[in-house]
Symmetry: C2
DNA sequence: AAAATTATTAAACATTTGTTTAGTTTTAAA
DNA sequence: TTTAAAACTAAACAAATGTTTAATAATTTT
C-alpha cells in the first residue's frame, strides 16, 4: 500500500464513524502515522481527500447488474433473488462506508459531492427497474409501482443497518450484537426480502 | 415564542441541513438574531442545545399507536393501513428533522444521544410488532418475519426521503422536484406500502 | 556524481471554534 | 424606590481547525 492509500484508508475509517466535519485532518494523519502536511501535499484539501475516498472505494463496482438484465436462462424472479443477494452481500461487506455515503446524501452541503454519490448509489437501479419491468411485460409479475418496489428492497436493507444500536433494538438483541458480522442475520434478511418480493411481484 | 424557542428553531433548521458539527453556534446565533453568549447562557453548551432540540421536537409524539393495538372495531390489516398512513404523514411533515435523527444514529459519536434517539425512533415499533403478531395469531396474517416486516415499512418510507436528490433520481423527476411537498408522492407511497403489506401479510 | 525532482518534516499562519468573563441593561420583588 | 434577580452584550479566551511555508531528506534522472 502506498502512503496515499494508507491515508485514504484512515480517512474512510474516520469519516465513516465520525462524519466528515467530525473528523480533523490531524486525526487522519495520526491514524495513518503520517505528517499532517502530507494530506494537503497529496490531495490538496480535506474536501478533495473526501472525493478521493469516494472514488477509491466505489470505482470497482460499476454496473454489476447490467449483464443480468440480458441473461436468458434465469426467470425474472430468479434475477430479483440474485440481485437481492448481491445488494445484501455488498452492504454487509461495507456497511460503515455505506452509512457515510447516505449521511452525506442527507446533508445539504457539497452539492456536487451529493450528486456524485447519488449516481454511485443508483448505479444499478436502472438494471433493477428493467428486470421488474420485463417481469411485468412478460406476465411473470403483476403490475406494481416499479420505482417504489426498488426503494423497498434497498430501503429495507439499508434501514436495518443504519446503526448497530438501531439494529439491536429493532431485533431485540443485546448491546454487544454486531449486525454486519452476523451471517445469521444476513441469511434472515435475505430470506425476508426474497419472500417479500415474491408475494409482492408474483401473480397469485 | 420565547427567545429560547427561537434559538431551538434556528438550531433545528441548521442542524437538519448542515449537521451538528457542520453548524457553528455563531451561525445559530445569527439566524436566531441573538447574541452568541445566549446559547451557552440558556443551554450550557452546544451539545446540550442539541439534546434540547431533540427533546423539544419529539416530546409531543409519545405512544401514538399504543391505543391502536387494543382497538376492537378495526381488522389487523386496517390497523396496519392506519399505521402506514400515520408514519408517512409524520415523515412528510418533518422530513428534514427525521434526517437529522437518522444521521446522528449513523455516527459513532455521542452514545447517550444515539441511545435516546433510537428510543424515540422505535417508540412505536413495539405497537406495530404487536399488531402484526396478533394478526398472525388470529389467522388473518400468514407467518412472516415480524421485525423485518416492520423494518421494510419504515425503511421504504425513510429511504425514499433520504434526500431530495436521491428521491428525484429514483423517481426520474427533474431537479426542482420537492419530494415532501408533493401530495401526489405521499399518496403514491401510501398506496405502494399498503399494497406491499397486503400481499405480504394477508393469506392467499 | 551532479542536478533535478519528489517526499517528508516541523513550525508557523490565519481563521474559526465553543466557551467564559465582566459589565450593562432590563425586569421583577420588596 | 430601592434591591435583587434575570436577560443581555461586547469582548476576550484558549484551543482546534485547515492550510501553507521553508527547509531538509530521499529518490530519480541526466
Amino acid at each position: 500500500m502506498t502512503k496515499k492509500e494508507i491515508i485514504i484508508e484512515s480517512a474512510i475509517k474516520l469519516f465513516s464513524t465520525k462524519g466528515f466535519e467530525g473528523t480533523s485532518v490531524r486525526e487522519i494523519a495520526t491514524d495513518a502515522e503520517v505528517n499532517v502536511a502530507m494530506i494537503n501535499y497529496y490531495f490538496g484539501s480535506k474536501e478533495k481527500l473526501f472525493e478521493n475516498v469516494v472514488e477509491y472505494r466505489t470505482s470497482f463496482l460499476r454496473g454489476v447488474f447490467s449483464e443480468l438484465v440480458n441473461n436468458k436462462t434465469l426467470s425474472q424472479i430468479e434475477k430479483v433473488d440474485f440481485m437481492i443477494e448481491q445488494l445484501i452481500e455488498r452492504k454487509f461487506s461495507d456497511a460503515k462506508f455505506s452509512r457515510l455515503l447516505h449521511r452525506e446524501m442527507s446533508l445539504e452541503l457539497r452539492p456536487q459531492m451529493r450528486n456524485a454519490i447519488s449516481n454511485i448509489l443508483l448505479r444499478n437501479i436502472d438494471s433493477v427497474k428493467t428486470i421488474i419491468r420485463n417481469g411485468i411485460k412478460c406476465g411473470e409479475f403483476q403490475s406494481v409501482d416499479i420505482e417504489l418496489t426498488v426503494t423497498t428492497v434497498v430501503g429495507t436493507i439499508h434501514y436495518l443497518l443504519t446503526s448497530d444500536t438501531m439494529c439491536q433494538k429493532i431485533l431485540g438483541k443485546k448491546e454487544g450484537f454486531s449486525p454486519f458480522k452476523s451471517k445469521q442475520l444476513k441469511k434472515r434478511l435475505s430470506d425476508h426480502t426474497k419472500q417479500l418480493m415474491r408475494s409482492h411481484l408474483l401473480k397469485k
